[in-house]
């Protein structure tokens, strides 16, 4: 359920703001931005956290505020919790960027459950493309990632876990 917005000066600016923990991904790619309301100069933007405790939210809020203010807008940034964010909202483009960056992108929600909860090996190594990978831990370097290891190239890698 990605949001559909028409491209404006505001969305151009938002595409330029990234998640500080995954700098290759714009917040628009992440599906964090849920609503944009423009009334003249005033812009109301609703964002939703990936995880409740995501420490990047405050930074993202400040970044949006700063970028829009610099461009002459009067932004109001709201935090909304519902509907709860899901990895399904990450754009196709975003998934490609994640893989190029070395983070295995999330599978669809159904596929993911079997991987994380029953240990099936269908996550591709972002380094060498092998499917011979194992889950090391469901919890990784940030709240939104799990830790995997490739049995072929032996490199550890992050997997963006489904929510």
């Amino acid at each position: 359920m990605s949001i559909k917005v028409k491209n404006t000066a505001v969305t151009d600016i938002l595409w330029g703001i990234s998640d500080p923990e995954i700098p290759v991904l714009s917040i628009m790619d992440m599906g964090i931005v849920r609503e944009i309301k423009e009334t003249g100069n005033e812009v109301m933007i609703s964002i939703t956290p990936t995880y409740s405790g995501c420490p990047a939210m405050d930074t993202i809020k400040d970044d949006i505020d700063k970028a829009l203010t610099q461009a002459g807008f009067k932004p109001i940034v709201n935090l909304v919790l519902t509907p709860a964010w899901t990895t399904d909202w990450i754009t196709e483009e975003g998934r490609k960027k994640l893989a190029d960056y070395g983070i295995a992108p999330p599978l669809d929600a159904a596929g993911d459950k079997s991987v994380l909860l029953h240990g099936k090996k269908i996550i591709k190594c972002p380094q060498c493309g092998s499917e011979n990978t194992v889950l090391v831990s469901q919890f990784g370097s940030t709240a939104c990632k799990a830790l995997f290891k490739c049995e072929d190239c032996l490199e550890p890698f992050d997997y963006f876990k489904c929510l």
Binding site: G53, P55, A84, L116, Q138, S141, A143, K161
Partner: protein, 250 residues
């Protein structure tokens, strides 16, 4: 009415906060890198949930309390967390069993709260439920692995079960506020969860070759503000910055 919802939010939020704090104490001290990171990730989720509850609670107060005011500026007897979550990190077995007993309850509670008449409580529950699914999976897997592991790990797990199991009853104990919130369709029906809760616990314990202690007596008090001495030590550390430097911000 607002005050009652405030009290109800404390009952839920304080559990997340105190358990989150206990897990944060393990940062850099986990038995392995992966478990260390897992436990602190769970801690972070719980603190995020706590913030959601306390921001909502603060908005209901007449003097506009902030989330920090609620988290840091109460006395021990004003905290409403259950005694289970304040029990110390004696060893990894205690950490895992405490987590397992709590997660098994937490998931049932959140499932109920997603149907709350209060839209904001329902929203927090929906968000938290996704996270807690991973928590429960983590703690259940470790209960099984250690329970059915070596003789030593089995014994440590059994000791932890014997010690912590009597603290599980309080999770399902219904206080007057919880009864009232249930009747208004805002809160969860705790007594109704009892069968599901213990069925799940006993099933996992059996798989782990562990035995629940024979007890008909359960610890109780935290929800009424009567805590073990552990909470005082937790708060001394948790509140230090706000007490020493009032209104400080990150």
């Amino acid at each position: 009415m607002q005050d009652k919802i405030y009290q109800y939010l404390l009952l839920t939020g304080d559990n997340a906060m105190i358990l989150g704090h206990r897990l944060s104490e393990l940062c850099g001290h986990g038995p392995s890198l992966e478990t260390d990171i897992a436990l602190t990730n769970i801690s972070l989720d719980l603190f995020g949930q706590t913030r959601n509850y306390f921001q909502l609670a603060g908005a209901l107060t007449t003097d506009n309390k902030s989330e920090d005011d609620i988290a840091f500026l109460r006395m021990a007897h004003d905290y409403r967390n259950v005694l289970l979550v304040e029990q110390p990190n004696k060893d990894f077995a205690h950490v895992i069993v405490r987590q397992f007993l709590f997660d098994s309850f937490h998931i049932l509670l959140l499932k109920e709260l997603t149907n709350s008449n209060d839209q904001q409580i329902a929203a927090i529950a929906q968000k938290s439920l996704k996270e807690v699914t991973y928590h429960l999976d983590f703690s259940s897997e470790w209960v099984k692995r250690l329970g059915a592991g070596t003789e030593e790990s089995h014994q440590k797990m059994q000791d932890a079960i014997d010690f912590l199991y009597p603290y599980s009853g309080e999770l399902l104990e219904e206080t007057p506020i919880e009864l009232e919130m249930k009747e208004m369709g805002i809160g969860a029906d705790l007594p109704a969860m009892k069968t599901n809760y213990y069925n799940h616990i006993h099933q996992v314990l059996e798989e782990a070759t562990l035995v629940p202690p024979e007890t008909s007596w359960f610890q109780s008090g935290g929800k009424k503000g009567i805590h073990s001495e552990h909470l005082g030590f937790i708060l001394a550390e948790l509140q230090y910055m706000q007490r020493a430097y009032p209104n400080m911000n990150w």
